[in-house]
């Protein structure tokens, strides 16, 4: 009850004209930033910080603006995932898997609006979680030591099998490639450079945004060049229809259990400071697939495959605010920027924040609710506008996508070297696509590889090289069990499912014939 009272006070803080206007502006800018490949939530928030300073906003107002941008970007990322098969930001990666096939089937509008609703559900539940569970959840976060984090990352990779490719060997290859790319740069544990060949630019490692934009956006341009004019390619606009722009109730009802489950999973992943939104959306998708995908339709345009990662990543975004506000520990790149912003505004996040600055915290939470409704209200009607992107002929659209990718990277890092790396990734992405090697595991490897290794080594340092520490707590053992089940079950059941899939495909084929 106390929380509810505080929340009401929060609404009193948030509901001023200025704050509502800022939230609206933040949501809008955030959606755009999220949708542009190369600009993700963390960069989006960072580049708008000067705006907050220039406007001379007081702390609450500045935080409302920036968290609206944050939530908006989490919504926006899905747009280019679905329409262009290019993730607008890293948490939207999984949305390409079913979102783009849906668009290809002429259901772009439906996919966009469904994912908008899923984003809303995820963010809505996460915000409630923030209200009621923040103090308790902090204790959960403390249960995760290095050994537990290592088990968690192993779980993510163990459940990878069969999600992104029919050919398991290629999925494993792709994941290994991603992790190997992540190894480039100065080793955080001992400070020695690895695989950098004396090149200073490589000492910080390869930025995952550079890799995402190269692998997805530029390779798309190359693919298009290859198929120009021959009509067989994965050309877009001609074949991609818009379809209805609101989801039917039936569809929403069909996806509701998925959204609720993945909201919970995503939220928990978000709360863990070492995990973050990408892991949230990934585990949401893979566990949901394991749980409900009996017919093997995930990956071919299953609406649940769109709802799962979107609910998951938006819930994770809300969850990531828990450790940031309650511990002062950022769980993701974006919350790191928000945290720095709070510090710049002379507010110290940490265990006392809820007591020492209740107006900021509860005003912020109220603004999140507000922003969430705004985003839903904004995103459903805007679907009609977004899908018109597909009416632009690809010969014009593709160069724009390429140039936006370049600008996004150059504007943030100011480095020609990064652009070169991006072009290399573009060519690599083209080759991998030709060979039917999935790109998603590559990105996951780049995103999670370092964390996985660092936590293994931290655990081993603390235990003095005793490997049994990896099974040192019930939590770690539980996570290992889930990963083993997730890894072994598909292999045991794989034959069975594949047989059933084949039968089903025959049936579908028969109907189409």
């Amino acid at each position: 009850m106390e929380s509810l009272n505080s929340l009401l006070n929060g609404f009193a803080v948030a509901l001023t004209w200025q704050h509502v206007f800022l939230a609206l502006m933040g949501c809008f800018l955030g959606t755009i930033i999220g949708a542009l490949p190369g600009l993700g939530p963390s960069n989006g928030v960072a580049i708008l910080i000067p705006l907050a300073f220039t406007l001379g906003l007081e702390p609450t107002a500045a935080m409302i603006l920036l968290t609206s941008v944050y939530y908006g970007a989490m919504y926006g990322g899905r747009i280019s995932s679905i329409l262009l098969n290019i993730p607008g930001d890293e948490p939207a990666l999984m949305t390409t898997l079913d979102g783009y096939p849906m668009a290809q089937q002429g259901r772009a509008g439906e996919a966009l609006s469904l994912s908008g609703v899923a984003s809303f559900v995820g963010a809505f539940f996460a915000t409630w979680g923030l209200v009621f569970l923040a103090p308790q959840l902090v204790k959960v976060a403390l249960l995760f030591g290095p050994a537990e984090y290592f088990a968690l990352f192993t779980l993510a990779f163990a459940t990878l099998g069969g999600i992104t490719s029919k050919n398991q060997a290629k999925a494993a290859f792709a994941a290994a490639l991603g992790i190997m790319i992540a190894m480039v740069g100065v080793d955080g544990q001992t400070g020695v450079p690895r695989f950098a060949f004396g090149e200073v630019h490589l000492y910080d490692g390869i930025d995952f945004l550079v890799a995402i934009v190269g692998l997805f956006a530029l390779s798309e341009v190359f693919l298009f060049l290859e198929h120009r004019g021959d009509g067989t390619g994965e050309g877009k606009s001609a074949s991609v229809g818009i379809g209805r722009i609101t989801p039917s109730w039936k569809l929403l009802k069909y996806c509701t259990p998925t959204m609720l489950r993945t909201s919970v999973i995503g939220f928990i992943a978000g709360v863990l400071p070492g995990a973050g939104a990408s892991l949230g959306s990934f585990i949401s998708y893979s566990l949901e697939k394991k749980m409900v995908d009996k017919e093997g339709t995930f990956g071919t345009g299953d609406p649940r495959g769109v709802a799962a990662p979107e609910a998951g990543n938006n819930a994770a975004a809300g969850g990531a605010l828990v450790p940031m506000l309650a511990l002062g520990v950022p769980g993701s790149g974006t919350t790191a920027v928000l945290l720095a912003m709070l510090l710049a505004l002379n507010i110290t996040p940490g265990p006392l924040l809820f007591i020492s600055n209740p107006d900021v915290v509860w005003g912020l939470i109220a603004a999140l609710f507000l922003g969430n409704f705004m985003l839903l209200a904004m995103n459903i009607p805007m679907v009609g506008m977004f899908v018109r992107v597909l009416l632009i002929p690809p010969r014009i659209l593709m160069p724009i996508v390429a140039m936006i990718s370049f600008v996004g990277i150059y504007g943030i890092s100011g480095s020609t070297f990064d652009l070169m790396v991006m072009i290399v990734f573009g060519l690599l992405g083209w080759v991998l696509r030709k060979l039917d090697v999935p790109l998603v595991p590559v990105i996951l490897g780049i995103l999670l590889g370092n964390n996985m290794e660092d936590n293994l080594r931290r655990a081993m340092t603390i235990s003095d090289g005793d490997w049994s520490v990896l099974l040192g707590s019930p939590l770690a053992i539980g996570l290992w069990l889930v990963s083993i089940i997730g890894f072994v079950l598909p292999i045991l059941l794989g034959g069975l499912i594949r047989r059933r899939m084949r039968m089903r495909r025959d049936e579908v084929g028969a109907v189409q014939d």
Binding site: L29, I32, I33, I47, N167, A169, K170, A172, F173, A175, A176, L177, I179, M180, M183, D187, Q189, T190, G191, V192, R194, F195, L218, V221, F222, F224, L225, E226, R228, G229, P394, R395, I396, M398, P399, I400, A402, M403, I404, F406, V407, G408, Y410, T416, L419, M420, I423, G426, L427, W430, K434, L435, D436, G449, E453, L456, R457, M460, T461, G465
Partner: protein, 143 residues
């Protein structure tokens, strides 16, 4: 066959990676696992995956004809030139030229390609620089 070659390259790459991992200079202070172990484990996974790909290849993909391969190579070359030119000639000019080229190669008529390139460049400049305030490459003319 393509998959077999790919698997072979993958295997070679994994072995090279392991070789490079053994040549990581160790620091005076090191943790029990060390900076070499994990990369080597991952490279072994890649090598195993490559072997499986060699043994069980998928159907051969359709590779483009040589002319189209050249086309892709030229496009990549233009992108490299663009990256190098950005800090020299500034954002607007470089972007207009590069996107005009790309849209021309994708099938837009040459004149329209120039118009589209210029509009793309100005549009992106407006959104990223004027609205979002990102510092884009500044050329000799200040834009």
């Amino acid at each position: 066959m393509s998959d077999r070659i790919f698997g072979g390259i993958g295997l070679l790459f994994a072995l090279l990676f392991i070789w490079a991992a053994f040549h990581i200079e160790l620091s005076f202070i090191s943790d029990p696992v060390g900076p070499r172990t994990f990369p080597i484990i991952v490279a072994i996974v890649m090598a195993l995956a490559s072997v499986v790909i060699i043994i069980k290849p998928d159907v051969k993909p359709q590779w483009p004809r040589a002319a189209r391969l050249l086309e892709i190579a030229i496009a990549a070359g233009v992108m490299v030139a663009y990256a190098l030119a950005l800090p020299e000639v500034g954002f607007l000019i470089a972007t207009a030229v590069a996107s005009a080229f790309l849209t021309w190669r994708l099938g837009t008529a040459p004149l329209w390609a120039l118009v589209s390139g210029a509009l793309t460049s100005i549009g992106i400049y407006t959104v990223f620089h004027l609205i979002l305030g990102l510092s884009l490459a500044r050329g000799p003319f200040g834009f």
